[in-house]
Amino acid sequence: MSGDQHQHPLDRGLRACAAALETGEIGAGELRDEALNRSCDQTDLNAYISLFDNPHSEVASGPLAGIPYAAKDNYCAIGTRTTCASRMLENFVAHYDATVIARLRSTGANLIGKTNLDEFAMGSSNELSYFGAARNPWDHERVPGGSSGGSAVAVASGSVPFALGSDTGGSVRQPAAFCGVTGFKPTYGRISRYGLIAYASSLDCPGIIARSAEDCAIVFDAIAGHDERDATSARGAVDSCSDALVQPLAGLRIGIAASSFGAGVDDDVSRVVREALKEFELQGATLVAIDLPHAALAIPAYYVIAPAEASSNLSRYDGVRYGHRCENPTSLDDLYERSRAEGFGAEVQRRIFIGTYVLSAGYYDAYYRRAQQVRRLIAYDFDAAFERVDLIVAPTAPTTAFKLGEKIVDPVQLYASDINTVSANLAGVPAISIPAGFSNGLPVGLQLTAAAFAERRLLSAAYQFQQATDWHQRRPGVAR
């Protein structure tokens, strides 16, 4: 479905913007100005931390030439403030481009802003930002999800056709689900992490938020591929995903694990996702019951490993070389301890404490080593499942967007909402959240997961679903 042709190109997605530029329906400068105007008109959503009035690119052609986009504020872009939504980096100006930013720059895409996030990408609601919570455009009293909440809001509200997020435990997919847009996390290592400020290095994965799987594929084709600046970057050629979207769903085997629809998953969210699965079946896909026997251990494994890696990565913030520094330090230790206590918010501190604890002498084997062993069991579960099926389906999040403040007081409750997303990060496999319907007026996301490096299969299945449905074209009432 191509949407209403009378809508502004920004309301119709990336492909439509590119077509409008190609035909001269709109100029690149005009498109950028409209994107900036919309961003400025929607400051109540608090999607952006910074906006840039850059001249539009001189690159004349290509699917991203002249396309305005936004990046989560944990990507370094030369000359821009890059805060990670933290007081620690409130005034940090990046002196280099992340590889993804450089690659997008070379296509002629225009970075118009840096988006809000949970501090250092640690959170699932965007409420843990030093700059205040972003708000869900479907209901301003609800969270947009996180940690890439600002990027999801920017796309859902129509200010940009795509935005970069990062996904360490679901941080692209869950906000995409909450905001009714498409969120794509590729295989670990497919997109370079160079210049993405580290949270948990073995889990961090750059991701794309856009209106559709087709738009995600266009951006993925532009930014994926080996990067010698990232030692964990995957080698091997990346086949075009946008060239491989038109593949029939007929014959596809889609695994469905009862545990993904189990305790904690809202009944109506389950109903919406199961209803959407009928479309896959209608097009000839087969649903196959599978077992992911260690799924219940994904949350504990993730919340040991991610804080452990975070405690190490965030040790670089010492108040000496860059970042926040306390006033009048009396000793080097005082400088470190007060700069870090003042610069980091409560949740970041909590994860540093937990990570430091699970890595400390006497606790390493019981927590960190054991979590890494469980991580392998979870990866084995996926290996076994993908012997039998092509894709695995689940509700992206157990609920729709929750109210601001509803879960912020209880970290355990907030962590539990990542139940269906963290496994893909632990195993490193690609996954996508696509809009699948509504529950009480709020968007519901359906997650598809594929085997490592099977992005073409994943995106084509999502594309075929979106050709037959229009959930991804539904808009909240914020754009003009």
Partner: protein, 95 residues
């Protein structure tokens, strides 16, 4: 798993994070609840399972020993909260 204020003080020292004494009880109780979330790991059937540190199973790559970065000392020092004559300044360590 019990986790009290004394343990939090030890961890805070390791992490070089100042913590106010009046926050010890509340914060250690929060962390104790999170540690409770990890209880299932103790029963996990992990005997003989190799720990997984990285999803792709690749080791660190080596690159050729060539200078690739330009001199960015000026740009980097410009980010420092306090510097002088190409040096980062910190409180006196030695008297």
């Amino acid at each position: 798993m019990a986790f009290d204020g004394e343990q939090l003080k030890r961890v805070a020292r390791l992490a070089r994070l100042r913590i106010d004494p009046d926050q010890l009880a509340g914060r250690s109780a929060d962390i104790e609840r999170v540690l409770g979330l990890f209880a299932g790991l103790a029963q996990a059937p992990v005997d003989g399972v190799e720990p997984m540190a990285h999803p792709l199973g690749i080791g660190a790559e080596l690159r050729s020993d060539e200078v690739t970065e330009t001199d960015m000392a000026e740009a980097l020092l410009a980010l420092a909260p306090d510097s002088q004559a190409d040096l980062y300044l910190v409180p006196k360590v030695l008297e």
